[in-house]
């Protein structure tokens, strides 16, 4: 078995390190990073746009390049999250919280560097996992039916309450609001439209990019524009930038977070459905729970960047397990990658591993190479990205707005999406004024529809019997964990701590 793995990996590396494939990998990562830093253009849009480029490549080169684009955009999305509070895709919403706070303190460099290092570590572990345990892990993933997914998501949603820094009541309101926003669109079971107001552009629901760009990016710009005082504070921020790389203390603080984040990400990433987002949120929640002083979170804690970034990347890596071994895509980007394979005449599925070992193992090897290239490429770029922050607002803001509009439009080619982004921007501005955090809303927005779908599916299959959630062991385990989490939150000592934290943040 072990010898097999080694010879398989050898085959993989010999395929992936051929100069032409290394070149494709590099181009993919580079283009991905460059596109990823454009606000609003996430992995799905980037891969969809660049898909035609790969039609004339051979299958191995095409998939290697597309995967490179995927990692690159994912990382590029984190860069904008840290620098300008613009999450490129759902998983980087979490990175915004502490990453942007670090940037405001003049610590954008360490934040970017730790994100790259954490991602690389997670990518390495993820690659090894895929190589060693791919097929058996895929089997476990198949054991996850509707009840399991539902219970898992209930747990994730409860964990979201832990994420917030302000008042518990406001957090719950934001979660509920997120669930409501997630309901917009066509109901999967009955085909009924909900809250679409007759607009066909809303039939498939609001896209994540619309909600996130509005609540984070647009609202942030509005807030910065409101008075001169903030511009002044930004100038101070510019001068304060010290050191591009994390210090030894930073590394020490982040190391545990990277390892834990990787573990969390690898777990959730293997399950088809919601992978990177749930991973990032959960990893952040874990760090906050374990921290000696949870009040630092949201104010520039380096663990708050390291954990979700590692988790996110580990999940992305593990997402290839079900995609490659079962031919079941993990989300829109993976579906596109499978589409690319199909164009190449390769039917994705269990036989890829046996019929095209060069492709399967070559991709696994190139995953690692791609991650390594990402670090090599991005550590020197950190300095360059930081310089972006020095661009005067009168140039930076219009540029961001234009790119945001392009990015939002590119997802569905719908102008309605741009108007909706503006609407969410105004809403986001009101939230900032009311001290309501948008992160729990986003998580609920992402999870809500999945949760509803799985709840109804589980009950449909059990013919309306709700005990299915506690009689299936995996589902029951998640619900027990949720109950414990809730108990923690209600325990008075914890509540006291929370209130202290709130008092702290309001004093600031």
């Amino acid at each position: 078995m072990d010898a097999d793995i080694i010879s398989n990996l050898a085959l993989g590396f010999s395929t992936a390190v051929s100069p032409i494939n290394l070149f494709y990998c590099f181009i993919g990562v580079l283009v991905g990073t460059l596109i990823g830093v454009l606000p609003g253009i996430g992995p799905v849009a980037a891969v969809a746009m660049l898909l035609p480029l790969t039609f004339n490549l051979d299958a191995v080169g095409a998939i290697i390049m597309l995967s490179g684009i995927y990692y690159g955009t994912q990382y590029g999305g984190s860069t904008t999250a840290i620098l300008v509070n613009l999450p490129g895709e759902s998983a980087s919403v979490v990175t915004c919280m502490d990453g942007y706070a670090m940037a405001r303190q003049g610590r954008a460099g360490p934040a970017l560097a730790i994100a790259a290092i954490g991602s690389f570590f997670a990518g390495t572990v993820g690659t090894i996992l895929v190589a060693l345990l791919g097929p058996p892990l895929a089997e476990i993933a198949l054991k996850f039916g509707a009840p399991e997914y539902f219970s898992l998501m209930v747990m994730a949603l409860i964990a979201a309450a832990v994420l917030a820094h302000g008042s518990m009541l406001k957090t719950i309101c934001m979660i509920v609001l997120g669930l409501l926003v997630g309901i917009v669109g066509t109901d999967v079971n009955s085909g009924m439209s909900r809250f679409t107001f007759g607009a066909s552009g809303l039939a498939d629901g609001l896209s994540f990019v619309v909600v996130a760009m509005g609540l984070f990016g647009f609202a942030e710009i509005l807030c910065n524009l409101q008075d001169k005082a903030d511009t002044a504070s930004r100038d101070i921020l510019n001068q304060k930038i010290t050191g591009l790389m994390p210090t030894a203390a930073d590394m020490k603080a982040a190391f545990g977070a990277i390892v834990r984040g990787t573990a969390v990400g690898a777990f959730f990433g293997t399950l088809p459905g919601g992978g990177p987002t749930i991973s990032a949120f959960s990893a952040y929640a874990v760090e906050k729970k374990l921290a000696k002083d949870p009040s630092r979170f949201g104010k520039g804690a380096i663990e708050g960047v390291a954990a979700p970034e590692s988790a996110n990347n580990a999940a992305v890596q593990c997402a290839f397990i079900t995609t490659l071994t079962l031919g079941i895509p993990h989300g829109a980007t993976m579906a596109l990658l499978l589409g690319a394979l199909t164009i190449q005449g390769i039917a994705p599925g269990p036989q890829v591993m046996t019929q095209r070992p060069d492709l399967f193992w070559g991709l696994i090897a190139s995953m690692w190479i791609g991650n390594a290239m990402l670090v090599i490429l991005n550590l020197p770029l950190v300095g360059l990205w930081i310089k972006l922050l020095k661009v005067p607002y009168r140039f930076l803001f219009p540029a961001i707005m234009v790119f945001m509009a392009i990015g939002v439009y590119s997802v569905n080619n719908l102008d309605l999406d741009i108007y909706m982004t503006i609407l969410f921007g105004v809403l986001g501005y009101i939230f900032i004024k009311l001290k309501c955090e948008p992160a729990p809303l986003i998580l609920a927005f992402v999870l809500g529809p999945l949760m509803e779908e799985n709840l109804r599916r589980a009950l449909l299959i059990s013919r309306g019997d709700p005990t299915v959630f506690i009689t299936r062991p995996i589902s029951a385990a998640f619900l027990v964990a949720t109950a414990l989490l809730l108990a923690f939150m209600i325990v008075p000592s914890f509540r006291k701590k929370r209130e202290e934290a709130v008092a702290d943040s309001e004093a600031l």
């Binding site: 969809a48 898909l51 035609p52 039609f55 198949l142 054991k143 996850f144 039916g145 509707a146 066509t186 999967v188 079971n189 009955s190 085909g191 009924m192 439209s193 066909s200 552009g201 039939a203 498939d204 088809p272 459905g273 079900t322 079962l326 031919g327 079941i328 895509p329 829109a332 579906a335 596109l336 990658l337 499978l338 589409g339 690319a340 199909t342 164009i343 005449g345 039917a347 994705p348 599925g349 269990p350 036989q351 569905n412 080619n413 719908l414 779908e453 599916r457 449909l460 299959i461 013919r463």
Partner: protein
């Protein structure tokens, strides 16, 4: 002010050029005068998109103008199809219509802003994708007859997955439910991938899936293929009988893909496109590429396409009504 004036001149110039560009016949002779936009009402990377792109590339070579695929996904393909229906009928906007956009959506949606027959000039079919009935290997039935007997012995106990409410995968199974007098319960998933995963994992017992999505699993022995929905057996699975030959003559479900132009496109342009597209779909190399994607090349005439749509609108309309499917 200056730029505004320039804009006006430019617009006026464009309008004048457009007016001068008529009469129709010369327009058709020079066709195409600019790149052609091929609207695909589904996202990039999906099965319709793949076929569209394969054909678009060849069509571009033949016409001497690029054919650009414009993905306008959403709302079951109705958004993109509506855009195509409203486009200028000059042959520079075409769409890849399918059973979903031109038959099922108009039948199942309460309101669709286009008429599949009246708003389009059909050109030709290019491909069709078969549907395959697969079971989780744990189900105690080795063929369609045993499956029906099993379903009859425990009515309302078995479940089937679909790619979504109103999808071909649901309608295929509902047709079988009605034809065989069985009650296998519909569990909708979000797309072919998740529906396949649910069947592989045994969460549901059956799936009448699109061939490219389920064939690899059937070949690997992880799903048991018991019947194909086409009139003839599939070359990929010669041992699997058709539903029709298993006791349901006339049963046929497949997903066709064809080219449409907005209604009123000049005849000469339509004829030219039909000739080129028929050539492309009959090319052995293209046929082989279709087959790799689980589809087979098919061509026909505009009149045949109209008949096909009318027959299918009636056929699926009945199933939609009987199964109580209504998308709003």
């Amino acid at each position: 002010m200056q730029t505004k004036y320039k804009m006006k001149t430019l617009v006026a110039g464009l309008v004048a050029a457009a007016v001068l560009a008529a009469p129709m016949t010369t327009m058709a002779q020079n066709y195409p005068t600019k790149p052609i936009r091929l609207i695909v009402a589904f996202p990039a990377g999906g099965s319709t998109d793949i076929i569209a792109r394969l054909v678009a590339q060849r069509l571009g070579e033949k016409l001497g103008q690029q054919v650009i695929v414009d993905n306008r996904g959403g709302a079951g393909g109705t958004i993109g199809t509506e855009i195509a229906a409203r486009a200028a009928p000059d042959g520079h906007t075409l769409t890849m219509g399918t059973t979903s956009t031109h038959v099922i959506a108009p039948a199942a949606y309460a309101k669709v802003n286009y008429d599949p027959v009246k708003d389009f000039d059909p050109i030709t079919l290019v491909a069709s994708t078969p549907y395959l009935l697969v079971l989780h290997p744990g189900v105690k039935a080795n063929n369609l007859k045993e499956f029906i007997a099993l379903a009859k012995s425990q009515p309302g106990k078995l479940n089937y997955a679909s790619a979504g409410t109103g999808s071909t995968t649901q309608l295929a199974m509902e047709m079988l439910n009605r034809a065989a007098g069985i009650d296998v319960v519909h569990v909708p998933y979000n797309g072919n991938g998740p529906a396949g995963a649910a069947t592989l994992g045994g969460q549901v017992q059956a799936l009448f899936g699109s061939m490219p999505a389920v064939l690899p699993h059937a070949q690997a022995g992880r799903l048991r293929a018991i019947a194909v929905g086409t009139a003839q057996r599939s070359p990929a699975l010669p041992n699997v009988p058709t539903v029709a030959e298993s006791g349901f003559p006339g049963f046929e479900v497949s997903l066709w893909l064809g080219f449409f132009a907005p209604k009123g496109t000049p005849k000469p342009i339509l004829t030219r496109l039909q000739k080129e597209l028929t050539d492309i779909a009959s090319n052995p190399e293209m046929k082989a590429q279709f087959e790799k994607n689980g589809a087979s090349a098919v061509t026909n005439t505009p009149a045949e396409m109209n008949t096909l749509m009318k027959t299918e609108l009636e056929k699926y309309g009945k199933v939609v009504k009987a199964a109580g499917i209504s998308l709003k």
